[in-house]
Symmetry: C2
Subunit: 233 residues, 2 copies
């Protein structure tokens, strides 16, 4: 296993407090799984057999409605954990689908191994709870946004969040460093690709950002914050 990978696991939000011994064991027990773009780590409803820590790439957690409509719950970046429910209730299905947004690889542990690890390293259970708690806050926040904010604000927020997680500083501003279609942004902000397209175009006209195919570069983060906080218009 290469150094890069080990380092990511060591600093992951699941194992960050584990002892070196536990970490070594974790690395030995885990298996590395690669999934190419648009492939799935697991689908909503599958028995929750494994927990994953993303090593490379980007993974979308999505839900699909009976009518086929998709909503994107979150986008995972390397070092983040998903499918952690496997520790808790393997018999239950995963509550969402994990789809690779680009070629991705993740370390996976099955329920039994995970429990072995958690047995000797309490921080793993604790971290899992922290993750769940953080996720709850995020969902509450999102719910508040969906109910009380206009689409424009929600799109601004999503862009700022993506910039914070996957942003890359450039001369002209902050580039969101991943392939990102208008449809993706729409699914994250709870709107349609048309509205996203119009909104981004308008913002480009105002000089807030530069847009391209599957690319967004934020030139004026401060301006976006003002929109997100509804200080304009």
């Amino acid at each position: 296993m290469d150094k890069e990978t080990i380092e990511i696991i060591r600093r992951s939000n699941l194992f960050q407090d584990a002892s070196p011994a536990t970490l070594e064991q974790a690395l030995a027990l885990g298996i590395l799984r690669s999934v190419e773009e648009d492939g799935f780590f697991f689908m909503q409803g599958d028995p929750a057999t494994h927990a994953y820590v993303l090593v490379t790439g980007r993974v979308k957690m999505v839900q699909i409605t009976p009518t086929g409509q998709q909503i994107t719950l979150r986008i995972m970046t390397p070092g983040q954990t998903y499918g952690g429910i496997a520790l808790l209730k393997p018999q239950d299905g995963y509550p969402a689908t994990a789809q690779a947004a680009e070629n991705s690889s993740a370390m996976a542990w099955d329920t039994a191994k995970l429990r072995t690890l958690a047995g000797k390293e309490p921080s793993i259970s604790l971290n899992t709870m922290q993750l769940m708690h953080g996720y709850i806050l995020e969902l509450q926040e999102r719910q508040k946004a969906l109910v009380t904010e206009r689409v424009e604000q929600r799109i601004a927020r999503i862009l700022l969040k993506l910039a914070a997680e996957s942003g890359k500083k450039m001369d002209e501003g902050v580039l969101i460093d991943m392939r990102l279609t208008r449809q993706d942004v729409a699914e994250m902000s709870g709107t349609t690709l048309y509205t996203v397209s119009r909104t981004l175009s308008e913002w480009e006209r105002q000089g807030l950002l530069k847009i391209g195919r599957e690319r967004v570069l934020i030139r004026d983060p401060h301006g976006l914050v003002r929109i997100a906080d509804d200080l304009v218009k």
Copy 2:
């Protein structure tokens, strides 16, 4: 402490798997707190010092936006746990406000006592995780509803959920056994009290329910399910 109370704690989703000894200790360590209608158990942002199990009454978990708009996250019924975050991260504030929807009483444990109990009874930590997980599912479900469903469907879903939790079988149908204003329903379904009023009136005209001041009686639950699932119109 009266028998009623003990029974509720024993069957609560926090202590349901605890040994009789632990339960007894829990009852000894906990303090009973009463809050009258519209009062608060805690406010969003307060340091999370206590976890509660509701004994009598109804408690709303609400969030308030900077503009003063309220959204209701959930309504707790006796036996349910709230403020469980106290076990995990007391230094953090509560993520939402707990307000009594009617005169209510709840058993409370501070962080230290909670940890003592959790130390000797692992099921408590496990149950906390289950609670968090269940809540995550609920929030995801709600988010999906907010993004993909029309207001009518969401109102129908809320009524059905309330009926399931607080419903009381009557001759003419199922009565939602709590004071419930149009505003309350609006805050839960992410709409306005006007839309709720119009919608309920229309449903009464169709004979699906009977409405009164702070009262809803569902005469045709099946009909509501059909609306919630978008099988009509």
